[in-house]
């Protein structure tokens, strides 16, 4: 059933966030430490465990993949609720600090990615897709895009 997938996702989410809060409390930090990342690891592990035992049915997978597909719409909604006014009207310090750090990060990303490309640490580039391909084709149990 589809709800099993969504419930699994929700359980991983809650467990991950809780662990993130626990780590934060342990080291005395006022923000969640990697909760979402830990939740992602839980989901990967749980899915792997269930798949190996043949318990991860197509319907169950749909309960997870639906939310993965909803990701871009959620991001668009998030963009529409940003405080863009503050960003536009903030003084030169905010704009220069932000633009400067972004520029430096881009340079480093470019540098590191060129190095790992040459050292063959990086995988081959993903095959191109058309942006408006049918998302329903992604709703398989083990999506293999490559």
């Amino acid at each position: 059933m589809v709800i099993f997938g969504t419930a699994l996702l929700a359980a991983c989410y809650l467990a991950g966030i809780a662990v993130g809060e626990a780590i934060a409390a342990l080291i005395g930090v006022k923000a969640n430490v990697g909760g979402v990342g830990i939740a992602m690891l839980f989901l990967i592990a749980a899915q792997h465990f269930l798949q190996k035992r043949g318990l991860f049915h197509t319907d169950t997978a749909k309960g997870v993949t639906f939310w993965a597909m909803m990701y871009i719409p959620v991001v668009v909604a998030m963009a529409a609720t940003q405080n863009v006014i503050v960003a536009v009207r903030s003084g030169p310090i905010a704009i220069l600090a932000a633009a400067g750090s972004f520029a430096i990060c881009i340079l480093f990303i470019s540098l590191i990615n060129r190095v790992i490309e040459r050292a063959h640490i990086a995988s081959a580039p993903l095959a191109p897709t058309s942006d408006d391909h049918d998302p329903a084709s992604d709703l398989s149990v083990a999506p293999d895009h490559r």
């Binding site: 992602m40 963009a79 932000a98 750090s101 990303i109």
Partner: protein, 254 residues
Amino acid sequence: MFALIEKTIHESPLVTAFAFVGAVIWISNQLGHHLTRGRIAGSAIAVLAGLALAYAGGVVTGKSKGLADISLFGGLALMGGAMMRDFTIVATASEVHVDEAKKAGWLGFVALVLGTILPFVVGVGVAFAFGQRDPVTLTTIGAGAVTYIVGPVTGAAIGASSDVIALSIATGVVKAILVMIFTPVFARFMRLNNPQAAMVFGGLAGTVSGVSAGLAATDRRLVPYGALVATFHTGFGCLLGPSLLFLAVKALFG
């Protein structure tokens, strides 16, 4: 008639948000397809459109939550809030290929460290160039350049004033928006076309909102890899900001 429609919309904010975002994405896809002949991804246009709408909403209401401050679009705050964002990010992990992620685990960590220290140094440097000399102010603005959550958390921890905290939040928000807009533009330059590169990007570019939106607009399949690393970014920054980085600034300028 009009009152009837308005009542319906007011009573179903989240469903209205679904319909509205769907319409925005459909229009963006059409624009991307026909006006730019598919050269600019529909999702990139949709994120830009979202930001433009947020600006319009801010101008109309004078408040801080973009379009969501207009009551008709209140559902956007729930749909685009941290809970839904994180829930859908976790869901994208279902598409992670474990071997790909394992290959770059250590790289992700290196990127995370660089992604915290480099923006911090730039932020402190810019604030210094504008005549700031107080270590608390310098640290808070530097932390804001990491992410807009690290800024206020750090500032509150070391006792910065509220206008400095506001400035650090603004720095982080500007950075997140720059990442959202310019990631697809610089994707080729950054060699952002494979899972490992996306993990490096997630660690260095930082802010979850910026990384996730930027990658979504570049190639949806890269999102989980970038997000996996980026979600550690804020926690890592909040850990280093009020401690190691503050002490370093204090030693240098204090």
